[in-house]
C-alpha cells in the first residue's frame, strides 16, 4: 500500500546501493527525524527529559550491544559494566578539567581497552563459556568500581558531574542535553546501518554463522572477534558517558549493576538480534511497558477499588522483562523488527499476496 516498489527504476549503481531504496522509507525516516529534532518544542519537557531522552540513550547502548550479539554472535552479559567504565572514566576526566568532547572519546577508549581485555577470553571460548566470562566481568568490574574510593569517589559513592559544555554550548536544561543524546544516537545508528555493507560487517556475519568456516574462508577470527569487542565496548563507553552527563548527572556504582546489563539484553532480544531498527522498538517496549503496566494497574485499582500490594507493583518491571524475553524467544525470535518487516512485506505487494517479493 504505502511501500510501493512499482515505478522505481534505477539507472545508476549509486541509486541501487542507497540505504533506503523505497521512497516511503525515506519519507518515514525524514518524518521521524524531523519529529525528534523538533521534540523539545513540540512536547512537554516532562516527556522529553523523562521518556525521549532515556529512550535515545538506551537505544544507543542497545545498538552497541547488538553489534556484538546480533552481528558477530558473541554473547556479552556484562554490558552494564562496560558502560560503567566509560561513565566513570569520562566523568573523572571532566572533573579534572578535560573538555567533554575529549572525555567522551577517552571514556570510550577506556571501555574498549578493558572490554577487549575481557573479550579476549572470546578467543579461547564461545557460547556458554563466553557468557560466563562476561558475567564474571560484570561482577569483577562492579567490585573494583565500588571498592576503590579513587574511582567511585569516597564513602558516599556518588560522583557529581560538574557543569559541562559540548562544542561551546553549555549542557544545562533539557534542550541541549536532549540534542547531545540525539546526536550520539544518530551517529551510532548511521554507523550501524552502514557497517553491514562493509567488509568488517560481512566478516562479523561470517563469524556469527560459523567461526571455523569463516577462518577457512580467510577471515581472521582472532582479529575480528577482538575488533567486534573493541567497537562494541567503545560504543558502550561513549554511551555510558552520555548517560552520566545528560541523564544521571550523578553516578554511583549501583547504576551499572547486572540489572542494567539484563535490561539492555532484554531490549535487543525483544527488538530483534542483528537489526538496526530492532533496538529502537525493543528499548521503547522494555522501558515503557513496566510504566504503562503500573499505570494501568493503578488505574484499575483506583476505579474498581482493588488494593494491590506494594510488593507486586514493585516487582512488576522484572516480571514484564522476563515475560517479554521468554515470549519473544518462543514466538518471535527475531523480535519486533521482524514483526515490522512482516507488516512491510505484506504491504509491499498488497493486495496481491501471492506476488513475488
Amino acid at each position: 500500500m504505502f511501500y510501493r516498489r512499482a515505478g522505481i527504476r534505477h539507472t545508476r549503481y549509486q541509486d541501487e546501493r542507497q540505504l533506503f531504496p523505497l521512497g516511503f522509507d525515506r519519507g518515514l525516516i525524514i518524518a521521524v527525524l524531523a519529529i525528534l529534532l523538533a521534540a523539545p518544542f513540540l512536547f512537554d519537557r516532562l516527556y522529553v527529559s523523562g521518556y525521549l531522552l532515556p529512550w535515545l540513550i538506551w537505544t544507543s547502548a542497545a545498538l552497541g550491544l547488538n553489534l556484538l550479539m546480533g552481528w558477530s554472535g558473541q554473547i556479552h552479559l556484562g554490558y552494564g559494566a562496560v558502560m560503567g567504565i566509560g561513565a566513570y572514566g569520562s566523568v573523572h576526566l571532566v572533573r579534572l578539567g578535560v573538555p567533554l568532547e575529549i572525555a567522551m572519546i577517552a571514556g570510550g577508549l577506556l571501555s574498549a581497552t578493558i572490554g577487549t581485555m575481557f573479550g579476549g577470553a572470546a578467543l579461547r571460548m564461545k557460547g556458554i563459556y563466553l557468557a560466563m566470562a562476561t558475567l564474571a566481568m560484570q561482577y569483577v568490574v562492579d567490585f573494583v568500581i565500588s571498592h576503590s574510593s579513587v574511582i567511585s569517589g569516597g564513602s558516599l559513592a556518588t560522583l557529581q558531574v560538574p557543569p559541562v559544555s559540548f562544542l561551546g554550548i553549555p549542557l544545562q536544561g533539557e534542550v541541549p542535553t536532549y540534542y547531545l543524546a540525539l546526536g550520539v544516537c544518530f551517529v551510532i545508528t548511521l554507523f550501524m546501518l552502514n557497517v553491514r555493507r562493509t567488509s568488517f560487517g560481512r566478516a562479523l556475519a561470517a563469524l556469527r554463522e560459523k567461526d571455523y568456516a569463516a577462518q577457512i574462508l580467510g577471515i581472521s577470527t582472532f582479529r575480528y572477534k577482538l575488533l567486534a569487542f573493541w567497537v562494541s565496548s567503545f560504543i558502550g563507553g561513549v554511551v555510558g558517558s552520555v548517560l552520566a552527563v545528560t541523564y544521571l548527572r550523578a553516578i554511583s556504582p549501583d547504576q551499572f549493576h547486572i540489572e542494567l546489563s539484563i535490561q539492555i539484553l532484554a531490549m535487543i532480544i525483544v527488538g530483534g538480534l542483528g537489526s538496526v531498527l530492532g533496538p529502537f522498538f525493543g528499548t521503547a517496549l522494555i522501558l515503557f511497558a513496566p510504566i504503562l503496566l503500573n499505570n494501568l494497574l493503578g488505574f484499575t485499582a483506583g476505579t474498581f477499588g482493588l488494593s494491590l500490594p506494594i510488593d507486586l507493583r514493585a516487582h512488576l518491571p522484572l516480571m514484564a522483562y522476563g515475560a517479554l524475553v521468554i515470549g519473544f524467544l518462543l514466538y518471535e525470535p527475531l523480535g519486533l523488527a521482524k514483526i515490522y518487516a512482516n507488516f512491510r512485506n505484506y504491504l509491499l505487494v498488497w493486495p496481491f499476496r501471492h506476488a513475488q517479493r
Partner: protein
C-alpha cells in the same frame, strides 16, 4: 595469621561450598544431558525455598511433610519448564537458549517476591543454630548439617547414574543422535534431567532458606553455582564436589583474610574471579571433557 582462624575458616568453607555445590549439581545435570546452560538455577532454588515456605506457613503443613511435597511439586515444575519452553528451542543457537533461561530467571525473581511479598521469610526446618566448639574451633552448626546433607544428596546422584535410568541419561549425554537411534527417548531423559535439577535446587533452596531466610537473594546463589560448575568442568559430578569445596574454602578465606584489607564485600567477587581464571587457564575445568568441533 593464626592457624586457628584459618582452620576455622576453611572448615566452615568446606561445608558452605558443599551447599553451593548442591545448586550447581542441577546446572551440571542439565548441561550433561542436553548441552544447555541453565542460568535459572539460582532462581529455581529460590522458587523451591518459596514453595516450601508457602506450604509450611500458608497451607500449614508440618515441615517434614512440606519438604517432600515441595520436592515433588518442583520436580513437576522442572518437567513443565522443559516441556513448555526449552523443547521449542531445539535447533536454535546457543545464545537463544541461554537468553531463555535468563528470561526465566528474571521472571521468577519478579513473580515470587511480587506475589508472596519481598520481606525475608523465616523457614525453620529444625536445624540447631548455636555454634559448635571443636577444640578451639568455632563451627557453624547449621552450615555443617546443610553441607553434610548436600554431600549425601550429591553422592546419591552419583549412584543414580549407575542405575538403569542413569545409564540412559549418560548415553543421552554422550551422543543424543546415537541414543535416539537405539530406542532411548531423548526428550524424556532431558525432561527428567530438568526435573532432577529442580529437585536439587529445591533442596538447596530449603537448606539455604533455613540458614539465611527465604527471599530474592537466594537467586544470587547462581554465580557461585556457576563458578563451581565451570571449575569442576561443566559435565562432571565428582568435579562439582571437589570444585564446591575449593570455591567454598576460597570464599571463606577471602572473607576472613581479604575483607579487612579491602573493606568488605570480597565474598561476592571470589566466584567471579574463579570463573575468569578457570576460563583463561583451563576452559574445560578440572574434570570436564574436551569438545572437539568439526566444520
Amino acid at each position: 595469621m593464626d592457624w586457628i582462624l584459618l582452620a576455622e575458616l576453611s572448615t566452615n568453607g568446606v561445608f558452605v561450598g558443599l551447599m553451593y555445590a548442591l545448586v550447581s549439581l542441577g546446572i551440571v545435570l542439565i548441561y550433561k544431558t542436553s548441552g544447555t546452560a541453565n542460568l535459572a538455577q539460582g532462581a529455581i532454588a529460590m522458587t523451591g525455598g518459596y514453595v516450601t515456605w508457602a506450604l509450611a506457613t500458608l497451607v500449614g503443613l508440618p515441615i517434614w511433610l512440606a519438604i517432600p511435597v515441595a520436592l515433588v511439586t518442583m520436580f513437576g515444575f522442572g518437567l513443565l519448564m522443559e516441556r513448555i519452553a526449552l523443547r521449542r528451542m531445539i535447533g536454535q543457537p546457543v545464545i537463544m537458549t541461554i537468553m531463555l533461561t535468563l528470561g526465566v530467571e528474571i521472571m521468577l525473581r519478579g513473580v515470587l517476591p511480587g506475589v508472596f511479598g519481598a520481606a525475608v521469610k523465616r523457614l525453620d526446618i529444625g536445624m540447631p543454630q548455636q555454634p559448635l566448639f571443636v577444640g578451639e574451633l568455632l563451627l557453624n552448626r547449621s552450615t555443617m548439617i546443610g553441607g553434610s546433607i548436600s554431600l549425601l544428596l550429591i553422592l546419591l546422584s552419583l549412584f543414580f547414574f549407575n542405575s538403569r535410568f542413569g545409564v540412559v541419561m549418560r548415553a543421552v549425554a554422550d551422543d543424543q543422535t546415537a541414543s535416539w537411534s537405539v530406542g532411548i527417548r531423548v526428550e524424556r531423559a532431558i525432561a527428567v534431567a530438568w526435573g532432577l535439577a529442580a529437585v536439587s535446587a529445591t533442596a538447596a533452596g530449603v537448606l539455604w532458606g533455613s540458614t539465611q531466610g527465604v527471599d530474592w537473594s537466594l537467586s544470587l546463589l547462581l554465580i557461585k553455582a556457576l563458578a563451581i560448575a565451570i571449575l569442576g568442568g561443566l559435565d562432571s559430578i565428582p568435579g562439582v564436589l571437589i570444585a564446591g569445596v575449593i570455591v567454598g574454602v576460597a570464599e571463606s578465606l577471602a572473607t576472613g583474610v581479604l575483607d579487612p584489607l579491602v573493606g568488605g564485600g570480597s565474598r561476592d567477587v571470589v566466584a567471579a574471579v574463579i570463573i575468569l581464571v578457570t576460563l583463561l587457564l583451563k576452559p574445560h575445568g578440572l574434570f570436564g571433557r574436551h569438545h572437539i568441533e568439526r566444520v
